[in-house]
């Protein structure tokens, strides 16, 4: 299962049973990327994510969901319905050989299954259980219905993201939830931190553990300065276009380049910055007065006006070049600027090609492969994470996994006849 990649060998030999709905799938895919043998118990009808788009074929075939394939790379699929009355024996035998059970979903359903997991843990004390629910397994909000959007709202992310208010201070656009399941990403990352910590704990003690993860709390930790600004200063940050939410209005960062694309060009008002931006203006053939005595005098006399003037010169500079030209020229001068790229533009970028950030995964239904982000690091030379294979077909590994757990062909057929697989 594991590959030669540095971090993809870290969890080699660790068997993880992943139950529940789509919320926990990102945790599972990261663990598969670290080399664990992740077995997705997705029921006869398959994971919810099989019915979420985009799809590679127009018929929305659950086998062709990119949502499922993105979040289930490298896993095995077993079509066991864990809530089926006949599933207990199967789950028990699987858990006897497993290291970790992850179960994601609404607290009520997960808590019901947790009783069985605890029995399994008594039989296999090295077992680590991780429940992954909207609010954890207790508290007044425990049973609220949530989605990624509502988590980003309640957890504070949306309050910091969006657009500037009108000049009179009134917001006429809504707070924004950044796209692509970010609440589940954040919580999934915390789940992996928790599970790898528990595996380390087990190395020291021989004991498993039971982890009760709250998506709401995970999202809440992820708002940077918002909470300290309130705790220490009693102030609330306000959202602004394309830059950090702040207690007081700050100057814009986003600027439009010649090709209509955006550049994130923020200014720290340092001497180095003024000098190199002056150089860039000169190199772009734009007359400027940033080295003049008049400008220096303006800085002394009226810093705010000087900032406005300087910022206008930066606007002019950015507008004279393409976004990518601005990015590379600014970086060559040590400025922290970047072009606002589409994510897919990085696939052909030589930097990420050198690092092996993307791994081609075969899509037979398309008769081609698609490049997936698989790694966030290298070992100095090669990517540190990769996947031995793509996402599984529904139930692709049912026979294999149940056979390894000691079920005969006849027993597997009986389970199928009872509707458990």
């Amino acid at each position: 299962m594991s590959t030669q990649a540095l971090l993809s060998s870290a969890l080699a030999g660790i068997v993880i049973l992943e139950c529940g709905d789509e919320r926990g799938e990102f945790a599972g895919v990261l663990l598969a990327g670290l080399g664990a043998d992740v077995i997705r118990l997705e029921g006869k009808h398959g994971s919810n994510s099989r019915r979420l788009g985009p799809f590679t074929t127009p018929d929305h075939d659950p086998e062709h969901s990119l949502c499922f394939s993105r979040y289930n790379l490298g896993k095995k699929s077993v079509s066991l319905d864990v809530d089926h009355p006949a599933a207990g024996e199967v789950l028990g035998r699987l858990a006897a050989r497993a290291d970790v059970i992850i179960d994601s979903g609404e607290a009520d359903a997960v808590a019901r299954r947790l009783e069985r997991y605890r029995e399994m843990q008594r039989a296999n004390p090295r077992l680590i259980i991780c429940t992954f629910t909207p609010f954890g397994l207790d508290g007044p909000y425990r049973d609220l219905k949530m989605t990624d959007l509502t988590h980003l709202a309640l957890g504070g992310v949306m309050a910091s993201c969006g657009y500037d208010p009108r000049p009179d201070g009134i917001y006429d656009t809504p707070p924004i939830a950044p796209e692509m399941w970010q609440a589940y990403h954040i919580a999934g990352e915390y789940a992996v931190i928790s599970i790898t910590a528990a595996l380390n704990f087990r190395e020291l003690t021989g004991e498993g553990d039971c982890i009760d993860l709250s998506i709401h709390e995970a999202v809440s930790t992820c708002t940077e300065v918002a909470i300290p600004t309130y705790i220490y200063g009693g102030a609330v940050v306000r959202r602004q276009t394309g830059r950090h939410a702040a207690e007081n209005r700050t100057r814009p960062w986003l600027r439009r380049a010649r090709d209509g694309r955006y550049v994130k060009a923020f200014l720290f008002w340092s001497g180095h910055e003024a000098r190199v931006i002056g150089e860039m203006l000169t190199e772009a053939g734009i007359e400027h007065d940033l080295n003049s005595e008049e400008y220096r005098e303006l800085r002394r006399r009226s810093p705010s006006e000087a900032h406005d003037h300087f910022s206008a010169m930066v606007d002019k500079l950015v507008a004279s070049l393409t976004a990518e030209e601005v990015y590379h020229r600014a970086q060559a001068k040590g400025l922290l600027w970047a072009s606002v790229r589409y994510p897919e533009e990085n696939i052909d970028d030589p930097h990420f090609q050198d690092r092996g950030t993307f791994q081609p995964i075969d899509h037979p239904e398309l008769d081609r492969s698609l490049n997936y982000t698989v790694s966030v690091a290298t070992d100095g030379k090669n990517r540190a994470m990769e996947f031995a294979h793509g996402a599984p077909h529904l139930g692709e590994h049912t026979q294999e996994v149940l056979s390894q757990a000691g079920f005969s062909a006849a027993e597997i057929a009986a389970l199928a006849a009872h509707g458990a697989v």
Partner: protein
């Protein structure tokens, strides 16, 4: 180096982390390691080039010396649970001491610009000879290997490049809203912690240390979901969709205004039953019976009108009251909470003990954002081994130089006088 002993073992007992990180991304990683029981030693120096800017950044704890470097609330929140020493890395003797620290450590984390450690002749090739079991986590904006190894980055840079800025906001022609904070400083911290936890597990099993070259931009790509896949499939660049759901016909799906100043509620209707419940809670106004909204596909196809009507219907409601009423009917809905709401009005965070009061030596005791999971056995503590907030600058220098490196009080005094420590 007083440590608040806990009776039970912690996952990272015996691990000593030399922490050369600054600002947010790196310190977030080492915060997680301290939470799991590692002895994290922040190595800092107080001059214009070396000082962690976060020490001087607002919000500051009220009272006390406003120029103190020990009163930043954000620094306290992110560096909780660590020890702190001063060490001048630009002094040859300082680098010698640093090597002695590395010899006694098991992990090194740093997030300087990518070539800095080599300039000091302290690359992995050198340090791994001093300590072959060392796990060296290097965090940089783009990643050390690859064509952009000299490029510099902060969170917003990586967010722009990875596509996350583009994928947050209302559709064009509106500009991207982006993230209102350095989301990728959080994420990179999580991946840094995951990488080190996985590498420690690997080393505990194999005895092998390693070098990990973590890229902040790659973490952005890892959380960019299915966007780049869809773009490869369709040949069209990734679009922006505001708060609307693209993976399924979920509508209404957005943030809608409520009574008060800049108060909003997020509502996500996933199916016909939730739509019927929402309509009933709104008093079944005539527009909810419009045939265009009778099916999920119809609601999705007419989302502009639906959102306009929803905004009219919610604008006089109190956001928590509407949230509670909708939740009672099983409709996913949540108030868009700001920081004050989460601190003062979120019964769930309160009930779960999310905020953890921890003492800091100059500021006194303040609430720190906690870890979002409860463990049955592992004594997870954001206060780390010292069970306290962030260290004051150099707070533990004497103890660590004396107890860990065996320096005499005279040697410490001389080195301090010579600006080595």
């Amino acid at each position: 180096m007083a440590s608040a002993e806990t009776a039970r073992p912690r996952p990272l007992d015996g691990e000593r982390v030399v922490d050369l990180t600054k600002i947010v991304a790196g310190p977030n990683a080492t915060r997680m390691l301290a939470t799991m029981g590692a002895e994290v030693i922040r190595v800092e120096w107080n001059d214009d080039r070396a000082l962690d800017l976060l020490r001087a950044i607002r919000p500051l704890a009220p009272g006390g010396d406003p120029h103190s470097l020990n009163r930043s609330g954000l620094f306290n929140n992110i560096n909780t649970g660590k020890y702190g020493i001063t060490l001048n890395m630009n002094h040859p003797q300082g680098r010698d001491l640093f090597k002695r620290l590395v010899e006694k450590a098991s992990v090194l984390c740093e997030n300087y610009s990518p070539r800095q450690m080599e300039r000091w002749e302290l690359g992995y090739d050198v340090l791994s000879k001093i300590n072959p079991r060392l796990i060296y986590l290097q965090i940089s904006g783009m990643g050390k290997s690859g064509t952009y190894d000299a490029y510099v980055s902060v969170g917003p840079t990586a967010q722009a490049l990875s596509g996350l800025t583009h994928m947050s906001g209302l559709p064009e022609p509106m500009p991207p809203a982006g993230w209102g904070y350095s989301y990728l400083d959080h994420s990179t911290g999580y991946y840094g912690a995951i990488a080190v936890l996985a590498a420690i597990l690997r080393r505990r099993r194999t005895g092998l240390g390693c070098y990990i070259d973590l890229s902040q931009t790659e973490t952005g790509l890892m959380v960019s979901g299915t966007a780049a896949l869809q773009a490869q499939l369709t040949g069209h660049h990734t679009a922006r969709h505001g708060n609307r759901m693209q993976a399924a016909d979920w509508a209404p799906h957005g943030a809608y205004p409520c009574r008060g100043t800049d108060e909003w509620i997020a509502i996500a209707v996933q199916n016909d039953a939730q739509w019927a419940a929402l309509a009933a809670e709104l008093g079944a106004p005539e527009w909810t019976r419009d045939s265009r909204f009778a099916s999920a596909a119809g609601r999705k196809a007419n989302e502009d009108d639906l959102d306009r009507l929803m905004a009219e219907a919610t604008k006089d409601a109190e956001r928590y009251d509407l949230m509670n009423r909708l939740q009672r009917r099983g409709v996913p809905a949540a108030a868009v909470q700001k920081a004050d709401d989460r601190c003062e009005r979120d019964p769930q965070l309160k009930s779960r003990g999310y905020f953890v009061p921890l003492p800091q030596s100059e500021m006194g005791t303040w609430n720190i954002e906690g870890f979002p999971a409860k463990f049955a056995k592992i004594p997870v503590d954001v206060g780390g081994p010292p069970h306290r907030g962030a260290p004051m600058l150099g707070e533990d220098s004497d103890a660590i130089y004396r107890e860990l490196l065996g320096l005499s009080p005279e040697e410490i005094a001389t080195m301090r006088e010579e600006l080595v420590i």
